[in-house]
């Protein structure tokens, strides 16, 4: 299915901070069958196959945008992020980030970006975060005064205090993640690549990290491309989402448009005064369930007004709700069913 492009008006004016055109990444991996015979065959004649981790994706991101990157495990999200920040070289296609080709890793480029990986850390494990922050300040050429001011500002925002002088190994996962964010943002990057920044955090810590990212975007106008398995991260932070599946870009646009694309029907939940048989709902949309007094229907958006009017007219309705299905459920269903 062709990706649905939704170019921001600024793209046309050239003020694009991330431009990706026909980007692909192919990994060559060893292909070994299980068991002794597979091992012997593999030893005698090694076979490889190409894995298309990312296939011909294109999109643009303008300065200050917060874009969510969705996809199941192995969909190609992290590979794309790695190519955008210059960690790995693309097999094909063009990438320009902040006016640079990321794979060249020019020092000016590296000063403008950061990559935060929820499951990996850059802080020295046995030392307090402050030691790693001092190293980062020196490496990025930040003066002692500026470094002190920035650490103070960011630690206030992140609600970090004495944790900065405690060994990293003694910090909780949430505290560690916040310290990682501080280390990654000390040089005030324009472009943030965030790979599962709330992974493993409890609900409160997730909310604090989300709030921090939103504040940071407001204060600095930084551009963010964020992957997360927590839909709450995406819905709270990202007006626009990219959905990638098996290396292909499936959707590029607002989250609600993705929802309507994935599930064009609306959910109608009825609570009736008295039980009614399922046959009574014939011609009133698709019946999901009819149990005692509770009825769930799916209705096409253009028929919704008429169907609701008929329901109210025909039945004694105690309560009626019209909802969109939860986006995470839709995406989960989509990946499970392999509909993409």
């Amino acid at each position: 299915m062709a990706p649905q492009r939704s170019l921001h008006p600024q793209v046309a004016h050239g003020s694009v901070v991330i431009e990706v055109e026909g980007l692909s990444k192919i990994y060559r991996v060893a292909d070994k069958q299980p068991g002794l015979s597979g091992t012997l065959k593999h030893f005698m004649r090694r076979r490889h196959r190409d894995v298309h981790a990312v296939s011909d994706i294109s999109f643009s991101i303008v300065p200050g945008e917060m874009v969510g990157f969705l996809g199941a495990n192995g969909a190609g999200k992290t590979t794309t992020l790695k190519m955008l920040c210059g960690l790995i070289h693309p097999s094909a296609g063009q990438v320009v980030v902040a006016g640079h080709q990321p794979q060249k890793r020019h020092p000016d480029f590296l000063r403008r970006i950061t990559l935060v990986m929820g499951q990996k850390q850059q802080l020295l494990w046995d030392l307090p975060p402050m030691d790693s922050l001092r190293v980062n300040a020196a490496v990025y050429g930040i003066s002692d005064r500026d470094a002190k001011r920035r650490i103070s500002e960011l630690s206030d925002l992140l609600e970090l205090g004495e944790e900065l002088t405690r060994p990293v190994r003694k910090l909780s996962l949430g505290q560690r993640m916040k310290a990682e964010l501080l280390a990654a943002l000390l040089h005030q990057p324009d472009v943030l690549f965030l790979d599962e920044p709330t992974l493993g955090l409890d609900v409160n810590a997730q909310a604090r990290v989300r709030q921090f990212l939103a504040d940071y975007n407001q204060r600095t106008g930084a551009t963010m491309l964020l992957t997360s398995h927590y839909m709450a991260d995406i819905t709270a932070l990202c007006p626009r989402v990219l959905l990638i599946h098996q290396g292909h870009l499936f959707h590029d646009g607002p989250l609600d448009r993705l929802a309507s694309r994935l599930a064009p029907e609306r959910h109608v939940r009825l609570e009736l005064d008295a039980p009614v048989g399922a046959e009574a709902f014939a011609g009133l949309g698709r019946l999901d369930s009819c149990c005692d007094c509770e009825v769930n229907l799916r209705v096409q958006p253009d028929e919704l007004t008429a169907v609701v009017a008929q329901l109210l007219e025909r039945f004694e309705v105690r309560d009626l709700e019209v909802n969109d299905p939860p986006i995470d459920q839709l995406i989960g269903d989509l990946f499970r069913q392999g509909k993409v």
Partner: protein, 265 residues
């Protein structure tokens, strides 16, 4: 201003931090220092052997040579491959690659921090050696000490570059440490850890001198022990190995980074 990506502040902060980091492993480093007593074992073997005369050194000379070999080894030991391999395989290398500082400098700083942590342990072992062998006690002249320090530092540089060259193969093979084990055998025999190079037959000596190994232990140890050695030739060959290896490391690194798949990250 930065030279090779470094300035005074980066050097100061990086070394200070890595020293603090290594101090956290002081017990482990003390054990590493103790595990480097191979030269003393060899000394006792040679002292009890009739073949000692073939080494061309008297008893005190041999004591000083092996003590110097121990000290040179303590301050030129390199474990780059193992650290790099782990970082490359677990993805810890990734954040280093995204900072405007060549990642190799971090490994250099780690080694220097570790050497500084070793210093007191090496000093204690040296003191114990002199208590056992008081006749071997000597204090090198300032000139010899400075030259020995320089030779040891250059030996460290050669060893570091050699291991970096092999470590860069991690970008291709993922298990480059196996190759290091191949290097260890010639290093053991030809570096002077088991016996001074002069003890070997002429054709082995000639062969050894075409390799970097004698310049990793034998040459700096002789300088420290104030034994006869061609200083100019020794330093020139050390420098030549550095000049040869450095561009190779940088080229292989650049090619390898293109293949980096940021595994585990």
């Amino acid at each position: 201003m930065r030279v090779f990506g470094l300035n005074r502040k980066i050097i100061r902060v990086l070394l200070g931090t890595e020293y603090a980091h290594m101090l956290e492993y002081r017990a482990e480093i003390a054990l590493w220092a103790l595990s480097g007593v191979l030269p003393f074992i060899m000394l006792s073997l040679w002292n009890g052997s009739d073949a000692r005369d073939a080494l061309g050194m008297d008893g005190v000379g041999l004591d000083r040579y092996f003590l110097s070999a121990f000290l040179v080894r303590q301050f030129s030991v390199v474990w780059m491959i193992y650290a790099f391999e782990e970082d490359a395989l677990t993805g810890r290398l990734s954040p280093y690659l995204l900072q405007p500082l060549h990642p190799l400098w971090r490994y250099v700083a780690s080694h220097l921090g570790e050497q500084l942590t070793r210093l007191p342990f090496a000093a204690v072992i040296t003191a114990i050696f002199f208590l056992i062998q008081p006749k071997a006690f000597w204090v090198p002249s300032l000139g010899h000490f400075v030259l020995a320090w320089l030779a040891t530092w250059m030996a460290f540089s050669i060893a570091f570059l050699l291991q970096s060259l092999i470590a860069s193969l991690c970008f291709w093979s993922e298990k480059a440490s196996a190759l290091e084990r191949l290097l260890f055998i010639p290093f053991l025999f030809l570096s002077g850890l088991l016996a001074p190079i002069t003890a070997f037959p002429p054709f082995v000596r000639t062969f050894a001198q075409w390799t970097p190994f004698p310049y990793l232990i034998d040459f700096p140890a002789r300088v420290l022990a104030e034994q006869p050695v061609d200083l100019l030739a020794g330093f020139a060959i050390q420098l030549a190995w550095i000049v040869l290896l450095l561009p190779l490391v940088l080229l292989l690194w650049r090619a390898g980074v293109r293949r980096y798949s940021a595994m585990g990250a």
